[in-house]
Symmetry: C2
Subunit: 652 residues, 2 copies
């Protein structure tokens, strides 16, 4: 097959495709960032930064950038996807602004909306939506971190007064790291163990006023978390409660209620399912963080790629200094990051669609919710770690200039650091993914035969079309591994890439499931075996997340209309797929999935074909992020070009 090498990207079309379904929302929020100058000021003292962010939030409210997700009577559109899209774009202005938005509307407001009922929507939602009442989402406790089920705060029903008594038993159970807790919050949605008639019914959420005119209410304590590694525009702090009474009606009672006589009732019988259902609202945090950090990767790449195209270092034998982007190592560092960022972009679009379908009630089933939660957990973990790596590589690619605060990369990294451990520690999230994979495997193998195995594989990959060959095809290909003549050709075939990536996940899960069988029904032994394989489980969950990204990227290709653009993006998808294979090459070799000739061909093909082919498109690929100077706000590349032009002209 002839490959046309001399192709061009249609930046406008690709840019629109990347902007995606909620393009108008995104444009509106981007416009606000620029026109209202909602920027972070690097180095600003914490107190000023906190005030600036609160003020900027009010500007967003005034300009209609915050209400998308809420009821029409509150100016909203019940547009959950659009709401998250707006949130995600704020990253370009200031991650603190973005996260404080998330605290107010994604957590505090959404908890009222999704865990509350009409009473709460009427009484508490309007002031949350219009920011009259800044609120905290009081779930995490100092001593319990990601283990929400173990929180120590209690809410005990007192039928004598028809009130719940909120209480913090010890320092370990202080609510901690809560945005709006140290300063601005006037109310909080407090998660607590609900006790009534002497029985603990598990974790439930309560609407609790905490401040009036800036002063803490009786029984409520607060401490400031103080300076953090980043996100210092948010007043994170601790809250604790000494027998604080709230009316019975302040229980957010969509899923469970307590009657005036203290009788507990719930529409969900299983305490475990009830717990996870109430925590389900958290999924929107994970979905939108994924979009936000994907935007951070766009920003970092925009800065570093443009600089690398202007910056020259070290003269070659011809005496001419070489452009950074022409160095082999530099291409190896940046181009795969562009490819991975594109994979995140397309994967996030699918995730946001799925989120919208569930939360707008278009396709809200137990199964779609469970799938959404699994994919969001994997996506949040991978995208946040990848963002830190991308920003750091971009910072290093810019050398000393990258370390200057004005060029944004160091501040961006500092702000995003916490993303990998908040909203569910990444390792905890990946374990959830691994457990789901093990569960699916166990289901498929109740009566294992070759058909169920194939079915399991098809289920994992989500799109049966990819798997026409299935395991049988793979087996044939393994036989065919002896021939090395077509090594590259084999891997270039997207079906083969897909089979390899899929096989990586399902074979690992099968092995792990098998290893864990040894425990039988002994729960202690099960836990012990799970722990011994914890690292492998997490690595497998990561591989699963990468597979999802690869699939999304591949599904996006036919939607690109311009054939030349599609060609470049196909190379980019191949680069993503090849670097995944290269990264896990030891696994593929060990398991006989790739032979030596093909393994070497992969690295060779990346270095001698894909990188040189993609290199001329580096700028167009970041152009398609459509980031205006008003969003990027550094003149790093332009200044470099100007300085260089100055030399040529002999200027001082």
């Amino acid at each position: 097959m002839d490959i046309k090498e001399d192709v061009q990207i249609e930046v406008a079309e690709l840019g629109e495709r990347i902007l995606g379904r909620w393009a108008e929302v995104r444009r509106h929020t981007r416009g606000l960032i620029e026109s209202e100058k909602l920027f972070k000021v690097e180095g600003e003292p914490l107190e000023k930064h906190r005030e600036r962010v609160l003020k900027n939030l009010k500007t967003l409210v005034a300009n209609g950038a915050t209400q998308y997700g809420f009821l029409p009577e509150l100016g909203g559109q019940m547009n959950p996807g659009g709401s998250l899209a707006s949130f995600e774009e704020l990253l370009f202005a200031d991650p603190s602004l973005q996260i404080k938005f998330g605290v107010q509307w994604g957590l505090f407001g959404s908890a009222i909306l999704y865990l509350g009922t009409e009473y709460h929507h009427k009484n508490f939602l309007p002031s949350a939506v219009n920011l009259d009442v800044p609120g905290a989402f009081a779930m995490t406790e100092t001593g319990h971190g990601s283990d929400v089920a173990s929180i120590g705060t209690t809410a005990t029903f007192d039928p004598a007064t028809n009130e719940f008594v909120i209480n913090t038993p010890n320092r370990h159970s202080y609510k901690d790291y809560l945005g709006n807790a140290a300063l601005h919050g006037q109310a909080a949605v407090v998660f607590a163990q609900l006790y009534t008639q002497g029985k603990n019914h598990g974790v439930h959420a309560f609407y609790v006023p905490i401040r009036k005119r800036g002063k803490l209410l009786p029984g409520v304590g607060s401490e400031d978390d103080g300076l953090k590694g980043g996100l210092n525009g948010i007043d994170n702090g601790r809250l604790y409660f000494n027998q604080v009474r709230v009316p019975r009606l302040n229980l957010l009672n969509r899923y469970a209620d307590v009657a005036q006589d203290g009788t507990y009732s719930s529409v969900i019988e299983s305490p475990g399912r009830r717990f996870f259902t109430q925590l389900g609202a958290l999924v929107q945090g994970r979905v939108s963080l994924t979009g936000a950090v994907t935007n951070a990767q766009k920003l970092a790449l925009d800065i570093a790629v443009r600089y690398s195209e202007e910056r020259k270092q070290f003269a070659g034998p011809d005496g001419e200094e070489r452009t950074l982007m022409d160095y082999g190592r530099h291409q190896r560092r940046l181009l795969p990051l562009i490819a991975r960022t594109y994979a995140h972009i397309f994967a996030h679009q699918e995730l946001l669609d799925a989120f919208h379908e569930v939360f707008a009630g278009i396709n809200d089933t137990e199964e779609t919710r469970a799938d959404l939660e699994t994919v969001a957990a994997a996506a949040k973990a991978l995208s946040t770690w990848d963002a830190l790596e991308t920003i750091q590589q971009c910072r290093e690619a810019c050398g000393g200039q990258g370390f200057m605060a004005e060029h944004r990369l160091t501040g961006l990294r500092a702000d995003l650091d916490i993303y990998v451990t908040f909203e569910g520690d990444n390792n905890v999230l990946l374990q959830l993914v691994a457990k789901r994979l093990l569960g699916d495997y166990a289901k498929a193998f109740k009566s294992p035969d070759f058909g169920t195995l194939a079915q399991y594989v098809a289920g994992q990959v989500g799109e049966a079309a990819f798997n026409r060959g299935g395991l049988r095809g793979l087996a044939q290909n393994i036989i065919d591994f002896g021939s090395t003549a077509r090594s590259v050709g084999f891997i270039k075939d997207p079906e083969h890439q897909h089979q390899l990536l899929t096989d990586r996940v399902h074979t690992s899960i099968a092995k792990l499931a098998n290893a864990m069988k040894a425990a039988g029904k002994d729960q202690l032994k099960q836990a012990e075996l799970f722990n011994r394989h914890q690292n492998e489980l997490i690595l497998t969950a990561k591989a699963h997340g990468e597979l999802i990204m690869w699939e999304a990227f591949t599904r996006a290709l036919p939607t690109i209309e311009d054939p030349e653009t599609r060609q470049v993006l196909t190379w980019l998808r191949d680069l993503f797929g090849f670097t995944l294979l290269e990264k896990d090459m030891a696994w593929y070799l060990l398991n006989g999935r790739i032979n030596s000739a093909r393994a070497e061909a992969i690295t060779e093909y990346i270095d001698t074909r894909l990188l040189p082919r993609l290199r001329p498109h580096a700028i167009a690929l970041v152009d398609a992020f459509l980031l205006t100077p008003g969003l990027v706000r550094t003149n790093l590349a332009k200044d470099e070009a100007a300085r260089r032009a100055g030399i040529k002209k002999g200027q001082n």
Copy 2:
């Protein structure tokens, strides 16, 4: 062979071994940090931080912690190793303090000492040593970064006035990122292209006064680099010169001189060698940064390991919450980092010894200098990248607490970020290492036969004893790969670990050398081929650095007297070796050096033997860093323990 599992570490002995040859110097500096409270204050505004650091430097001078490396008549001991040891310990107080120390004495003062002669030692050194004249080291330029040979600043000799005229031709040639340039510097050692009698003799260093009583001297310009991603206690800035005149004698003329009539002379004939000899003083920066970031790893691990030993999360089936350090994933994250940090510690001790021997004139030959520079380049690159990774893993292992500025990890990482690209960008340094390896290879292969190949290998590994088998032995082992029964036994043998790690380096270099042969004598083609293989070259140089670390760790083992401590450290060395093999497993598999059975055995052995064996010693291994509470300055682990004790007592 029976392995005694129930062993204990003699912390005092191991601690002393880690403190090493300059233990007294290190103790003295550590004592000053604690008693004089030379600490960084997280979140302090830039201006205050800069003043604090200057004041702290003066305290160090007053307490005799800065003069070790200088002449006895200036209160020194001509103890280059001790000087660096003192510098390295300052990391515990404040990386800005450490780097400003480095600017003043490691760069500015050392340039006068090592590039100057008696005149400069008499006239400029005393005020540099006692800090009466804070000075800048004006080498780097905005437009030229790590490519020092291309700097644009000129120093043109004017015989009419017996002066050099220092001039900055354009914005690209501003000196940039210089500590002491924005504010405190009164003089600078300026690197410039030396012109005399119409000819450019390349880069030389000049002593140039820049400020008097805080005011810039005529013709000297300065700009403030402003806020950076870290190290904000240093007043980095730019300097530029508009026809600034300095006396002829201000040329630091140890290696080259200009006579009154303008005649140029040099003790080093080759311009290339002259350039690199003058830059040789820079090696001390690289050596000492390696020690400093190794201290940073100790600090981060001290914080994270202690916390992980106190923190419990998620109840097991027995209802008891589990200690973080007992999780398989947590062990996988932290224990290999302890192992690698120990490898850095021992490698750095050897490097510092070698540095001392050269710079104290004990063993100063062209060969020892060249070796020192190669090893320092590799060590600086690996240790600084590893430090960022270690600190980040430690931060994540501490969850939300790790993000609080008071627990030091985020500030430490922010400060150390620039270490990977300053004092020679890590990628540039690793290319130097790769070039040296290629050069050695080429030398050995002028008349290639099996003997020279073996000799080349022996030369690379530095210690012939390890290589009794040499290539022949390895060939046999490859044959023996068929037997899987003794898979682990094979790799556990340190000679085999060593052969594999060595072979990884020399086979890669041989392949690369071979690939580059295609260019013949064509320089353009050579450059092209070098660039195409740049990534592999850098990866090979990294592998070479890791080999050096592994060797140093192994050489340190017999020096540990207590057999139980030695046993634990042998496991730790094995963990380091095994994780290196695991990381590059694709290479070993592809090249037939390790077969599948052994590859799987390695991972299995790490997870089921080494980690469980080392886990009980985690605390003792960080205890041996001998970091007092006054150096660590966070109560993270203690507070966690207190909170937990509070729960048990039912306290609030």
